[in-house]
């Protein structure tokens, strides 16, 4: 639901960038989304299809690159991506979140003509 303001932001940024680089249309936008950023690909895609009409991004393909939140085991120090569990895959110990990981949320790159 909260992806709408995000999508509007993507389109706003892309309009500026298209102008800056002399592109009349954007063909591809690569987004980096961290696991903890609470952004759902499908929602972004759905809003984008509606909101991008009549903009230079109307036919752009969205590419999503995900980044996991990383955990560190408090027992053996192993660092591992958070998948299903907080338990260390190496020793079974409990882990803590490595602050700042998984919160990425930015436009990495775009392509156009």
């Amino acid at each position: 639901m909260h992806e709408l303001p995000i999508v509007l932001d993507i389109i706003r940024v892309m309009k500026d960038e298209a102008k800056k680089h002399g592109f009349h249309e954007i063909t591809k936008i690569t987004l980096v989304i961290g696991e903890l950023s609470s952004v759902v690909d499908e929602s972004v895609q759905m809003y984008f299809e509606v909101a991008a009409k009549d903009t230079p991004c109307a036919n752009a393909k969205l590419v999503f690159e995900h980044r996991p939140a990383m955990l560190k085991c408090t027992v053996c120090g192993t660092e591992f991506p958070h998948e299903k569990s907080f338990d260390c895959p190496a020793c079974g110990g409990s882990s803590v979140l490595i602050k700042g990981t998984g919160t990425e949320f930015y436009i990495k790159s775009f392509d156009g003509n």
């Binding site: 680089h21 903890l36 609470s38 907080f86 790159s109």
Partner: protein
């Protein structure tokens, strides 16, 4: 030709959040972004904290999808409140906060921003607050920190509400703390604010907020 830009999103919200921060600090206001599920006891908590924080003035910017029930109830208690209806939007953003703050027009105060009841979206939007407080209620279950990692990991302090219901709903405090400690070092305050009974645990949160307020640079 692919162009690399690495451009952060929600910049517009960030910019407005900074403006809100300047507005609050210019008026010597401690802004508290209070988040939590619908029914987790956010409004009741504010009401109890306002009594405990006296003589410091308390104001509330109320965010709800619809209705002004909460703001009206707080006004009855003498707490300056403004109501923002988001009309379906699942969180508050920086843009609407300034309006709400200007309506209550306070200085030298603690202002609570009561966010829309939701454990997901509000976590993403900086409002220009000094403190992020999360109200998690016992009936929601002890597994919530495992399930709503962003919200719990961004909170500066967690208030566990309705603690008088622990036994009735089989709440496992140890499991709750285990999940929370994996993602956050935030202090946990346990409260019980059952109607008609003496509130328990409010003083500790009030002390925590008062210390933050007293540490603000004078405007």
């Amino acid at each position: 030709m692919e162009v690399i830009i690495m451009k952060e999103l929600l910049e517009a919200n960030e910019k407005l959040a900074e403006e809100n921060r300047a507005y609050f600090s210019g008026r010597h206001i401690l802004a508290v972004n209070l988040m939590g599920s619908p029914g987790s006891g956010k409004t009741t908590l504010i009401s109890a904290l306002a009594k405990e924080l006296a003589p410091i003035s308390v104001g509330v910017i109320e965010g709800d999808i619809a209705s002004s029930i909460d703001a009206e109830n707080l006004e009855k208690q003498g707490i300056r409140s403004s109501q923002i209806n988001t009309c379906g939007e699942c969180h508050l953003d920086s843009r609407v906060i300034r309006d709400g703050a200007e309506k209550i027009d306070l200085r030298d105060a603690i202002v609570f921003i009561e966010n829309v009841g939701n454990l997901i979206c509000p976590a993403e939007f900086d409002l220009g607050e000094n403190v992020r407080l999360l109200a998690a209620s016992v009936p929601e279950g002890d597994d919530k920190p495992f399930k709503y990692v962003p919200m719990f990991s961004y909170a500066d302090a967690v208030v566990l509400t309705k603690c008088d219901l622990k036994e009735a709903v089989g709440f496992d405090t140890e499991n709750f703390n285990k999940g929370l400690r994996a993602i956050s070092q935030a202090p946990v305050f346990e409260v019980s604010l059952k109607k008609g009974q003496t509130p328990a645990g409010v003083k500790e949160i009030a002390d925590y907020l008062r210390a933050k307020y007293e540490a603000l640079p004078k405007a």
